[in-house]
Symmetry: C2
Subunit: 149 residues, 2 copies
């Protein structure tokens, strides 16, 4: 039997979070954290609304997932995030010992791959899931911002 | 006239925060953020109590300082932290565009220098202020933990 809960399924949920950020005039990045095919945390970028550079989608999802689990380690969890994590978020994911990271679009400039942020040895990372959709939404956001200024 | 508000003065304040963490059975790291010789934010490590890997002293101080300033950028601010920032905290400091980072003890293993975390071009970093005191407190903590287990 086919499992409907594949990476694309959960990345679509992360995309819905990114769209919430878009609607709030935030750089549209969204994230969900999943354990055993169940979403235990959601987050979207809120750096402008909260006036807080630490309020990235992933950071909020990490805090919410640990709160749900009652422990700070995210073993057996997968993070789905629409944009490759930055140094800060990858650094937080390092401490969380999360099992898997799935990202959508690459961030060639400020992403953890280009900046060589160290991931935990327990963590696997793959990318490119719904990359085009994530990238499109980001482009649409920056065009909107440019036209407003 | 001598300015009593030098790096040692503010690092002592960060050390007081680290001692609060020690008393709560947390890895003793403390931080303060200063603008124009005035402390606008304090934080100490609370990862165990909050069950949250993101609750490092620096992260809390960054959020609190931005809240105080009413804006997310920490221009003209200096962070004093008793231990060299990790990748996550250095990544957050990158986004904050903070002017200066002063740390106490080096973290040769997980610190941002060894792991080559990128700092913002606007940010200067110096270290070694009250390094021995910070290091002693950390050692005392790990000896206490070992004796309890």
């Amino acid at each position: 039997m086919l499992n409907p809960y594949d990476d694309t399924y959960f990345m679509k949920k992360a995309m819905q979070e990114a769209e919430l950020a878009f609607d709030k005039d935030e750089v549209p990045v969204g994230a969900v954290i999943v354990i055993e095919d169940r979403i235990i945390a959601r987050g979207h970028n809120l750096t402008e609304l909260l006036n807080d550079v630490t309020a990235h989608a992933e950071m909020q999802a990490i805090t919410a997932a640990a709160n749900f689990l009652g422990g700070k380690y995210l073993h057996n969890c997968t993070l789905y995030v629409t944009l490759e994590p930055c140094q800060m978020c990858a650094g937080a994911l390092y401490w969380s010992q999360i099992s898997k990271i799935v990202y959508g679009a690459r961030d060639e400039e400020r992403g953890c791959i280009a900046l060589k942020t160290k991931l935990h040895p327990k963590t696997k990372m793959i990318g490119g899931v719904l990359a085009e959709e994530a990238s499109e939404l980001l482009k649409r956001f920056f065009i909107k911002k440019r036209n407003l200024n």
